[in-house]
């Protein structure tokens, strides 16, 4: 019986997992993805908006790199996004779907704002900052603890629980900002007259401390996950709870402890946003970073250094998009399409790094690879 080279039942293309691809291939795939994205975008820009694609790309580049202050803002925004990514990493590594970073950041920010306003005049600066940090960390940790405890105790669904906690946090912040604005029509910056509780200006910017704190956290979380006993426990629980139990790991404890850490770092991020960046609180203080950070954490497979790179890419695209919108009086949606295409191709390239396509009738070549 002769073997059929193309059996009719064989699919046109099959997908198979690739063993660790060589570095050269990873670079080639990613470079190709970016090139392809730029080409597709160029077509979109040329045919839909009628602009010169090259100059649009230059403007987009300029969104982050045209002036030192823009670059420093990009670093500031990066530090916010990365900080939440760092907070999420241990939870997600444990396969605990913490969708509640937005709320955890908000309550941390709210605690900071309340302490700033109500103790701004009575406490000396060091004590005030200590209280703000502790308050924000405690508030964020509480917001992480509640769903974790319910999950550990009654196995509730943490995805829904943490998501719902976001709405609770948003409503509390909305209520408090309404009270705090008093007869004014909007809250504005807090402690405007005294600047109490505003982080000091270092190297010309208030958010320098934010960047330093997040830098430290990046190293600390990397070490915690990779080298500490806790980090190992998190990894085991994430792989299989039964294995963890078999190995004598107290799964409930790990779960609650990890979510306390996750929430606490989110709360700290709230502190950095309020004291170092915005000097005020609103329902949009977290600005959706709590959700974007999930992408950051996942794409980087919880490696905090990759997270920094991915955060940078996202911030670069975001700033580029708004610069395109501003420079060409384009609707922001058009600019978002341009950056969306780039993101799509970069994410898509991960597929070609991790998997390979086997076309019908190409068995031999594949085997020979």
């Amino acid at each position: 019986m002769a073997a059929h080279t193309s059996h009719p039942a064989e699919p046109l293309v099959r997908i198979a997992r690739r063993k660790a691809a060589p570095l050269s291939r990873k670079i080639a795939v990613r470079a190709a993805a970016i090139l392809l994205a730029l080409v597709v975008d160029a077509l979109f820009i040329f045919f839909v908006t009628g602009l010169n694609p090259i100059s649009v790309y230059v403007v987009m580049w300029g969104g982050t790199f045209s002036t030192p202050v823009r670059f420093s803002w990009a670093m500031r925004d990066l530090s916010t996004l990365l900080c939440i990514g760092i907070a999420l990493a241990p939870a997600f590594k444990m396969r605990f779907w913490n969708i509640g970073a937005e709320g955890q950041v908000l309550v941390g920010g709210l605690a900071t704002a309340l302490i700033m306003v109500y103790f701004g005049n009575s406490l000396p600066a060091p004590a005030l900052f200590a209280a703000m940090v502790l308050g924000s960390v405690a508030a964020g940790a509480l917001w992480g603890f509640v769903p974790a405890w319910f999950k550990a105790r009654w196995n509730t669904n943490e995805t829904l629980f943490t998501l719902m906690m976001n709405y609770v946090a948003t409503s509390i912040v909305a209520c408090m900002t309404n009270i705090m604005r008093g007869q004014a029509s909007s809250l504005g910056t807090l402690n405007k007259a005294t600047k109490a509780g505003w982080l000091p200006i270092i190297f010309g910017q208030r958010y320098t401390i934010n960047i330093i704190v997040v830098l430290v956290l990046t190293f600390a979380m990397y070490a915690y996950l990779k080298y500490s006993k806790h980090g190992y426990e998190i990894a085991v629980v994430g792989e299989s709870e039964n294995t963890a139990r078999y190995a004598g790991i107290n799964v409930r404890r790990v779960m609650v402890r990890t979510m306390l850490i996750s929430g606490a770092i989110c709360g700290l991020c709230g502190f950095l946003i309020v004291a170092g960046k915005d000097q005020t609180i609103s329902t949009t203080s977290a600005g959706g970073n709590g959700f974007t950070a999930i992408i950051v954490a996942w794409l980087a497979k919880f490696n905090t250094f990759y997270m920094a790179l991915i955060s940078f890419l996202l911030i670069f695209l975001e700033r580029g998009a708004s610069e395109i919108a501003s420079a060409y009086s384009l609707n922001e949606y058009a600019a978002d399409i341009i950056t969306g295409v780039i993101l799509f191709f970069i994410l898509g390239s991960e597929f070609f790094i991790n998997y390979r396509l086997i076309w019908r009738g190409h068995h031999k070549e594949v085997k020979g690879e």
Partner: protein, 435 residues
């Protein structure tokens, strides 16, 4: 580690790609600067907007600035736009970025931008910052920080006159009587009207009082109910408030909120056979409410922007507080609806002329009372307060000045932002905002 290198390298390639591109566009940029040099002025203007052209309030500002720029001969590349800038730290970023791009004049269009604009103004004393609708430029102690607002209360008064004429016609023709629509008369026989307000601030109080006085100047036996939405733009809530007001008997529904919710709801009720009409704000509502809309009061921002741009181009002093009305064509009402009373256009022209030449004052103390008394004194505290800690902390100390002189309350002269906040007789504010 290898993977990280991969990402880095990919990034580096992106850099080099963009670097290749940049040479091409510098040439293009060079071309446009040459063009700009040919213009009459090298003024560069930055505009920070709360929305974009799809949102009515910002659209009115965009139109105003573009019209003014065309009039004074400013080219497109002399204006840099920042759209959808929230009332937060993003606003100081945007302002600082515009400074970095070489703007000499930076305008923001929302009240909440003000506290962030002033921070940037402190940092860059050589750049002029205008916070539209803001209220503390004069007391901020900064020479480069300005406020402007139109005297929109004047056009609200005129829109009230239009509504009053309609009421008069309805009552005199026998269409609206205690028999045909009993709900629309109170115990004393006054006709009920209503008003959808955004927030209980002076800006809104000043506006609805002007509107009410306009109605009353034509049709004296009238009483008004004000319902708040606690939002500047909420179609559903504004619609619900209008429906609630009409259910309570309002024959006219005025508004100080930015959507088409109230006129749309009024049109629906009218189509159901209720006698009710709408007075809009900002834009012509005839498309939304073809028969129910009588007119809308509007701002003509171009009047201010033309003056501002001219002054900036010629290096002249820009007024710290600018507030003009009919005298400068800065406010207007939109086209009259088909169901307006006969003779409305003539009466409107007459009232507008009187407002223009100053013979008519909207807040004439002879025309309203508070708790049954004629008001003779209204001290206005111009201090800007921070209320966040529960007590009022003065951020910028201002004087307390008397607003009433020569028998009328002088609105928008002590500062450009409205400050009339008296609760006059004949108007009832609902204690609860619309659900």
């Amino acid at each position: 580690m290898k993977k990280m290198l991969g990402i880095l390298l990919a990034g580096a390639m992106m850099l080099s790609l963009a670097a290749c591109g940049s040479t091409g566009s510098e040439a293009a940029n060079g071309g446009s600067t040459a063009e700009a040099a040919g213009a009459s002025s090298d003024l560069k203007v930055g505009v920070i907007l709360i929305g974009d052209e799809t949102e009515g309030y910002s659209a009115a500002h965009i139109t105003g600035i573009k019209d003014a720029a065309a009039e004074v001969g400013l080219t497109d590349d002399q204006i840099i736009w920042k759209y959808k800038v929230p009332e937060g730290a993003e606003c100081s970023d945007a302002a600082e970025d515009l400074v970095g791009q070489g703007c000499d004049l930076i305008i923001s269009n929302s009240y909440g931008h003000q506290t962030y604009m002033v921070e940037t103004a402190e940092k860059y004393p050589d750049t002029t910052f205008v916070s539209m609708t803001g209220d503390f430029a004069a007391i901020s102690g900064l020479d480069n920080f300005k406020n402007a607002f139109t005297a929109v209360y004047q056009s609200r008064y005129v829109s009230g006159v239009v509504a009053g004429l309609k009421l008069q016609e309805l009552v005199e023709s026998g269409t609206l009587t205690p028999e045909t629509q009993p709900n629309s008369f109170d115990a004393d026989g006054n006709v009920k009207i209503g008003y959808v307000g955004a927030f209980p601030y002076a800006e809104v109080i000043s506006g609805y009082t002007a509107f009410y006085l306009g109605v009353k100047s034509v049709f004296p036996t009238v009483t008004m109910e004000v319902m708040y939405t606690n939002s500047w733009f909420d179609i559903d809530k504004e619609g619900a408030a209008a429906e609630a007001l009409i259910a309570n008997g309002s024959v006219i529904v005025g508004q100080h909120a930015d959507s088409t919710g109230a006129p749309a709801a009024t049109q629906r009720k009218k189509d159901d056979g209720v006698i009710c009409y709408s007075i809009g704000y900002n834009i012509d509502m005839l498309e939304t409410a073809p028969t129910a809309a009588l007119t809308s009061s509007t701002n003509v921002w171009k009047a201010y922007y033309a003056e501002l741009l001219t002054a900036a181009m010629n290096g002249e002093e820009i007024p710290t507080d600018w507030a003009k009305g009919y005298d400068d064509g800065a406010v207007a009402i939109t086209d009259l609806g088909p169901e307006c009373a006969e003779g409305t256009a003539e009466k409107v022209a007459e009232v507008e002329a009187a407002l223009k030449d100053g013979s008519l004052h909207v807040f004439d103390t002879a025309n309203f009372t508070v708790d049954g008394q004629t008001v003779t004194s209204a001290p206005i505290d111009l201090t800007y307060y921070d209320f966040s800690s529960g007590e009022a902390v003065a951020v910028y100390q201002g004087e307390t000045k008397e607003a009433i002189h020569d028998g009328y309350f002088d609105e928008s002269t002590l500062r450009s932002a409205p400050y009339f906040a008296l609760h006059i007789d004949g108007i009832v504010e609902d204690s609860e905002p619309v659900a």
